[in-house]
C-alpha cells in the first residue's frame, strides 16, 4: 500500500508541473470516460481525477474490535473531532461581522466552455445561488451586490442588498445573463469599487470574482485600479475556472484576499465556499498595511417589534404598500417591511436581535470538557447529565488522547459528567453547558 500511494503522489506532482504532455492528454481522455461512468452511477464520487487526490484507503484505517463492532472506530473519529476543536485558534475572535460583498461574475464567451458540466456558466450560477444563501446564513448583517463582466464593460446586475431573496432574484434568470464577448476586469472592479465607496469604515468591503477567461480587455492601467482598491481597503478574492493569471494572483495577494483555481466542480464549490466564513480582522490589517485598527466603531441599533399578519394593515415606509405584517422601528414607530435595514424615517439601523445573537457563540465558547480517565471515588452519577443516558459500567480497553475509557467527560465549571454524544453536541451545536448554563 505504501508503494502504491507513493506512486500516486509522483504522478500528482508530475501533473502539477505540466510534466509530459502525452500523459496529460491521455489522462484527460480517461477522465472523461470516468466521468461518464460516474454519471451513470448517480454522481456519487465528485473527485474527477483520482491521481490528484491524495490516495487514502479510508476503509483500511477503520479497525474492528474483538467483538467485531465498529464502536472503537467511531469513538476514534469523535476523539479526532475533539482534538481539532481544542486546536482551533482561540485568537480568531475578531472577525469582521458586518460585511459588504460584490459578487463579480464573468459573463464572457469563455464561460460557455463545457469543461465543467453542463457549462461553466450554468455551474457558476448554480453555485452562486447556494453561495448567496449560505453566505447570508453565516453573515446575517452583510450585504451582497452583483456585477457582471460582459462584452468589455461592467454591468450592474443586482444592487447592494441585505435580503437574500433580492440577490437570488437578480441571478435567477439565466437568459438575462447570457455570456457574450470579452471580460473587462478593470471596468467591473471600478464599478464595484464605486458602489462601495459610500460604506462606513467599520464594515468590510470585499469583491469576489468568479473568472473563467484567460484575458481581460481594459481601457486603462489595471494596476491603478488595484492601487485604488488597496487604498479603499477592498479585499479581492478570485476563483479562477481556467488557470492562474498573474494579475489575478497579484490582486488577491496585495489586497489580502484568497486566490484559487478550480480543478473540478467539487473543488470549485469548495474554494468558493471557503470565502463564506467571516474573515479575521487580523489578516485584514496585515494585508491592508494598517498597523492600528481604526475601523472599530460603536453603532446605535434598534430592535424592532414584529407585527403579525392579522394586525390592521398600514402603509410601509419602504415601498408605500398596504401591509399587515411588518416591523416597527423602536424610535419613530415607522413600519418597515424587512429587517435588517436602516429606518427610512429616522435612519436608525434596525436589526432583530437573533441576527446579532447568531454570532455570540464565537464570543463565549463553552469550555472544553475534560475526559475522565479513572473512576473517582466520589460516587459518580450513573447517567449523563445532559441526555440521561446511562454510562457504561466498565471501562473499555481502548484509549487515546482526549478519549475517556469510561465514556465520561466532565465540565470543568459545574463538574457534571456528560457522555461523548452530548459533549460533541454541546460544543458544536448548543454552545451552552446544561449543567452550569455558561
Amino acid at each position: 500500500m505504501e508503494v502504491e500511494s507513493g506512486s500516486d503522489d509522483f504522478i500528482d506532482d508530475d501533473d502539477d508541473f505540466g510534466g509530459s504532455r502525452g500523459k496529460n492528454v491521455k489522462g484527460k481522455g480517461k477522465a472523461i470516460d470516468r466521468r461518464k461512468k460516474d454519471k451513470g452511477k448517480g454522481k456519487i464520487n465528485e473527485q474527477a481525477y483520482a491521481w490528484e487526490a491524495s490516495y487514502t484507503r479510508s476503509w483500511d484505517t477503520v479497525q474492528e474490535d474483538e467483538a467485531g463492532s465498529l464502536q472503537s472506530a467511531v469513538d476514534d473519529l469523535l476523539a479526532r473531532g475533539r482534538r481539532r476543536r481544542l486546536l482551533a485558534p482561540s485568537s480568531a475572535f475578531r472577525r469582521t461581522i458586518i460585511r459588504h460583498l460584490i459578487l463579480l461574475l464573468d459573463l464572457s464567451a469563455s464561460m460557455m466552455d463545457r469543461d465543467m458540466r453542463p457549462t461553466r456558466f450554468d455551474l457558476m450560477l448554480e453555485y452562486s445561488r447556494e453561495f448567496v444563501l449560505e453566505w447570508f446564513d453565516q453573515n446575517p448583517l452583510g450585504q451582497i451586490g452583483v456585477v457582471g463582466m460582459r462584452a468589455g464593460v461592467g454591468e450592474r446586475i443586482g444592487e447592494m442588498s441585505s435580503n437574500p431573496q433580492d440577490v437570488l432574484k437578480a441571478i435567477a434568470d439565466r437568459h438575462k445573463l447570457e455570456p457574450a464577448g470579452e471580460p473587462s476586469l478593470q471596468n467591473a472592479i471600478e464599478m464595484a469599487r464605486s458602489s462601495m465607496s459610500h460604506l462606513p469604515t467599520h464594515s468590510s468591503r470585499e469583491i469576489t470574482i468568479i473568472f473563467g477567461s484567460l484575458t481581460t480587455v481594459d481601457p486603462g492601467n489595471i494596476h491603478d485600479t488595484l492601487d485604488a482598491c488597496i487604498k479603499d481597503k477592498i479585499r479581492i478574492s478570485v476563483v479562477a475556472l481556467a488557470a492562474e493569471m498573474k494579475i489575478c494572483r497579484e490582486m488577491c495577494d496585495k489586497t489580502g484576499g484568497q486566490f484559487g483555481v478550480a480543478i473540478n466542480d467539487g473543488h470549485f464549490k469548495d474554494i468558493l465556499f471557503e470565502l463564506i466564513p467571516p474573515p479575521t480582522q487580523r489578516a485584514a490589517s496585515k494585508a491592508g498595511g494598517g498597523a492600528s485598527n481604526p475601523s472599530a466603531d460603536l453603532m446605535m441599533m434598534g430592535f424592532p417589534t414584529r407585527l403579525p399578519d392579522t394586525s390592521p394593515p398600514a402603509l410601509c415606509v419602504c415601498h408605500s404598500e398596504l401591509k399587515s405584517e411588518g416591523f416597527l422601528c423602536p424610535r419613530c414607530s415607522a413600519k418597515l417591511c424587512d429587517v435588517p435595514t436602516d429606518c427610512d424615517i429616522c435612519g436608525l439601523m434596525i436589526v432583530s436581535s437573533p441576527h446579532l445573537a447568531r454570532s455570540f457563540h464565537h464570543l463565549f465558547p463553552v469550555k472544553p470538557y475534560d475526559a475522565v480517565m479513572e473512576a473517582s471515588l466520589s460516587s459518580p452519577s450513573a447517567n449523563c447529565h445532559g441526555c440521561e443516558a446511562p454510562f457504561p459500567k466498565t471501562a473499555s480497553a481502548m484509549s487515546g488522547e482526549g478519549i475517556s475509557p469510561l465514556g465520561r467527560y466532565k465540565c470543568p465549571i459545574c463538574l457534571n459528567d456528560f457522555c461523548s454524544d452530548c459533549d460533541v453536541f454541546v460544543h458544536d451545536v448548543v454552545h451552552c453547558c446544561p449543567g452550569c448554563g455558561k
Binding site: 417589534t305 403579525p308 424610535r331 429616522c346 464570543l363 461523548s420 446544561p434 449543567g435 448554563g437
Partner: protein
C-alpha cells in the same frame, strides 16, 4: 407501519417551571383567576396523558426547572429515570398511572429538597432547555455508543413545551438564544405557555423562530382547555388547525453590561456585543471606540421614543415669536398624522423635519 406516512409519532418534552415563589403569587386570591400549583399539576397531568393517548408511539419527557437546578422528572424512553414503584391497578390505564405518580412524587422530592437559601436562586430554565435538547438529540440520532438499549426507532416530530411562570432572566439571554438556534437545527418546535407573570421576551422569540406558538394565559381557569386546543396537535397537523399565534413579537435584546432589556442599543462593530449606553471600550473584545463616535452618540442619546414628539414641538415653538402661529400649527399636526400613516412622501418631509430638529438641538446647549 402504514399510518407512519399519515402522521409521524411525536416526542414531547415538557418543561415545568417550578419556582415556588411565583406559584405562591399565582395562587393568591387577589388575582382575577388564581391558579394554584395543585390544580396546575392535575391539569398538566391530564394533558400529558392525552398526549400519550393520542398515539401509541408518542413519547414523553418531563423536566423541572427549579431555582438553581434543573432535573428530569420523567422519561418514557428511559426506564432508568423515575422508577415506577406503583402496583398495577385494574381500574386504571397503567401508562397514565405511571406518569402521574412518577411526576408527582419526583416534584414532591425535589421541592422538599429545596432549602431556604436555594429559593432565592434564579430559575434554571436554560439548564432544563439544554437538557431537553440533548435528550432529543440522542433519541433523534440513535447512536451505537450510547443507544445500545434503544431499539431502532422511527423518525419522530420532536417538540418542547415550556410552561413558564417566572419572568425573563436577562442574564440567560445568550444561552437561551443559543438553545433556540440549536432547536432550529434539530427542527424542534418550541411552544410556550406563559401562565403567570409578565410577557417573556426571549420565550416569544423562541416560539417565533422555531415555528411554535406562544400563548399568554389570560383566563387561568381555562388552562387545560388552552393546553388541549393549542399544544396537543403535533406540527404536521397544525397547518390544518387554526392554532392561536402570538400577536406581536418583541425582538429586543439584553445588553451585556447591565443585563437590561433594551430596544435601542449600542453595538460593537467588531464582536456585536450590545450595550445599553455608549462605552469607551468594548468589554468583550477590548476594542477601543473613537472619541468622536462617543460624543456623537452621547449627544443623540436622549432621543428615546416619547422624546422626538416633544422636541419637534419645542423646535417648532422656538421660532414662533417671529412668525404667526397660525402657519405653524398645521405643519406640526401634519407631522403627527404622518407618523401613524407613514407614507413615503411624508417620509421625506419627516426627514427634513428631524434634520432641522437635530440642528436646533445642536445649537441649544
Amino acid at each position: 407501519m402504514s399510518d407512519f406516512a399519515v402522521e409521524p409519532s411525536s416526542h414531547m418534552s415538557v418543561i415545568l417551571d417550578l419556582t415556588p415563589a411565583q406559584w405562591y403569587l399565582s395562587s393568591l386570591p387577589k388575582n382575577e383567576y388564581p391558579l394554584s400549583f395543585r390544580s396546575f399539576l392535575s391539569q398538566t397531568l391530564a394533558f400529558l396523558n392525552s398526549h400519550l393517548a393520542s398515539k401509541h408511539e408518542n413519547t414523553l419527557a418531563v423536566y423541572g426547572a427549579l431555582p438553581g437546578k434543573s432535573v428530569i422528572l420523567y422519561s418514557s424512553t428511559d426506564s432508568s429515570v423515575g422508577q415506577d414503584e406503583t402496583v398495577a391497578d385494574a381500574n386504571s390505564y397503567q401508562p397514565f398511572k405511571t406518569v402521574d405518580s412518577v411526576v408527582a412524587s419526583q416534584i414532591t422530592d425535589e421541592l422538599d429538597a429545596l432549602g431556604d437559601s436555594d429559593e432565592e436562586a434564579p430559575c434554571q430554565l436554560v439548564g432544563a432547555l439544554t437538557k431537553a435538547l440533548c435528550h432529543i438529540n440522542r433519541i433523534m440520532n440513535p447512536n451505537f455508543t450510547t443507544g445500545a438499549s434503544d431499539a431502532p426507532q422511527p423518525t419522530r416530530e420532536p417538540r418542547i413545551i415550556i410552561l413558564s411562570v417566572s419572568p425573563d432572566l436577562s442574564t440567560s439571554y445568550i444561552p437561551i438564544m443559543n438553545s433556540i438556534f440549536s432547536a432550529q437545527k434539530l427542527k424542534v418546535t418550541i411552544d410556550v405557555c406563559k401562565i403567570f407573570g409578565p410577557d417573556a421576551v426571549f420565550l416569544q422569540q423562541a416560539a417565533h423562530l422555531t415555528g411554535g406558538s406562544y400563548i399568554y394565559l389570560e383566563r387561568r381557569d381555562a388552562y387545560l382547555q388552552h393546553l388541549m386546543m393549542t399544544f396537543l396537535s403535533p406540527r404536521s397537523v397544525r397547518g390544518i388547525l387554526a392554532v392561536p399565534t402570538q400577536e406581536k413579537i418583541d425582538f429586543r435584546a439584553a445588553c451585556f453590561c447591565h443585563k437590561t432589556i433594551v430596544d435601542i442599543g449600542f453595538v460593537c462593530s467588531v464582536c456585536l456585543s450590545i450595550f445599553c449606553q455608549p462605552v469607551p471600550v468594548c468589554s468583550t473584545c477590548r476594542t477601543k471606540f473613537p472619541m468622536k463616535t462617543l460624543q456623537r452618540l452621547n449627544a443623540s442619546r436622549p432621543s428615546f421614543p416619547p422624546q422626538p414628539v416633544v422636541r419637534s414641538m419645542s423646535a417648532a415653538r422656538t421660532p414662533t415669536t417671529s412668525t404667526p402661529p397660525g402657519t405653524r400649527t398645521p405643519s406640526v399636526s401634519n407631522h403627527h398624522a404622518d407618523r401613524t400613516t407613514s407614507i413615503s412622501s411624508s417620509a421625506s418631509a419627516k426627514v427634513n423635519g428631524s434634520s432641522s430638529v437635530a440642528v436646533g438641538n445642536g445649537m441649544t446647549p
